[in-house]
Symmetry: C2
Subunit: 244 residues, 2 copies
């Protein structure tokens, strides 16, 4: 009731270990802790944060998986170079550290996406089974499903049909980000319409097993969404977050 931002307080009721991770993450990424630094012992951290050691350990476990630290039994806890050992989960954390996705990081993601996805769509057209085709059709024809959900599912099915497990896991990254921010895109009727067209076109290409067509169609829609996103950014934030 003391908040001024809005009616409800943005839920800070996170778990304790979550909060601990956030603090260390912040300090490590901002280089307040340097690579190779030895962190205080679990006992000292617990004492300083005024929490229990078990809670600290849970936080440390998570940070270890993220590639932020290395835990050595009987020795200590050391800060790793997250630019060398960090993984996509950490990258996601970095993205979400700010309230808004920074335009330059978003650009990074879209650049990679534009390179991979069309090729994978081509492979999907080539390798898809009849079952997968039916499934794709089923998704696309579902009138109930929100367009965002539908689009995520289409891409997921393409990933599966591409037979490239590695791509599937990379796509999960894309989808997790887009699931959080995609509503902004799909709020615009024109964009929804464009995606609907894409779904129909890609269904056609995949039905006919037309590899290059699938690739082209996908490249086109990605270019469209990219342009839409950038123009959205320009409209909302101006050019400040612009090209680095």
């Amino acid at each position: 009731m003391e908040e001024s931002k809005g009616m409800f307080e943005p839920i800070n009721r996170r778990t304790l270990h979550w909060e601990i991770v956030r603090q260390f993450q912040e300090k490590i990424i901002s280089r307040q802790f340097n690579v190779g630094d030895k962190l205080p012992t679990e006992r000292d951290i617990a004492a300083e944060l005024n929490v229990n050691r078990a809670t600290v350990r849970e936080a440390l476990k998570k940070m270890e998986v993220l590639g932020l630290i290395e835990i050595r039994h009987g020795n200590g806890i050391y800060v790793k170079d997250y630019l060398e050992s960090g993984n996509l989960e950490l990258f996601k954390e970095i993205i979400y550290m700010k309230d808004v996705v920074q335009i330059d990081v978003l650009r990074n993601i879209l650049d990679i996406r534009k390179i991979i996805v069309p090729v994978m769509a081509g492979l999907a057209a080539e390798n898809r089974t009849g079952e997968e085709l039916a499934e794709l059709q089923h998704i696309i024809e579902d009138e109930q499903m929100p367009m965002l959900e539908k689009d995520l599912n289409v891409h997921h099915l393409i990933a599966r049909a591409s037979r490239n497990l590695f791509y599937l896991f990379i796509l999960n990254f894309f989808n997790q980000v887009f699931r959080d921010y995609g509503y902004l895109y799909f709020e615009v009727p024109e964009n929804r319409e464009r995606s609907k067209q894409f779904h129909n076109d890609i269904l056609d290409a995949i039905t006919r097993k037309d590899k290059s067509l699938a690739g082209k169609i996908t490249a086109d829609v990605l270019q469209y969404t990219e342009d839409a996103i950038y123009s959205y950014y320009r409209a909302v934030y101006g050019n400040e977050g612009g090209y680095s």
Copy 2:
């Protein structure tokens, strides 16, 4: 002293929570647990495995980060669809579940790699600073550094110079895998020589800021390594692990 494999026992002395993660991971990935299944309570798991609850919790924390499960306070623990929520860390775990990297999964990785890396090398040539160029030169001229290490560093620097943070984190995945298996490749003198050539060529291209040349050089060496790896697999395992 009871082992027969070699003089030293391959360190099974893993931590308990590590072992717990392995067991659940195995069961979830092999679909012994189905998506949406509610796992036993922490207390029950601890009782059944005959370990402490705190240990179980540490394992669960890790599985949560991997995208295998969802933990709901006051409710329970649920199995997620790892094909939808799993991340690259989980993918790595999957790779390492078998003793040898399966040829089809390796092929997946190499396919994606072949798509991305040349483009990023081109960007690196375009965007590199004088400082990064000097650093690259320094790495390449270091006669002491083992070729594997050198190669990883070269790629890492290319990633940084590409200015694409997302690529940098994807590269970390590649490098972590190659750090474990790359020695097989670099054992062969011819391959070492090929990499040396690549390093010199890419240094030249990046020095001259020649984008397309950097891309071409990189594409070439990736093709070479790919061929080498496949022929190695054929030689060692025959064609069994072949095309799916």
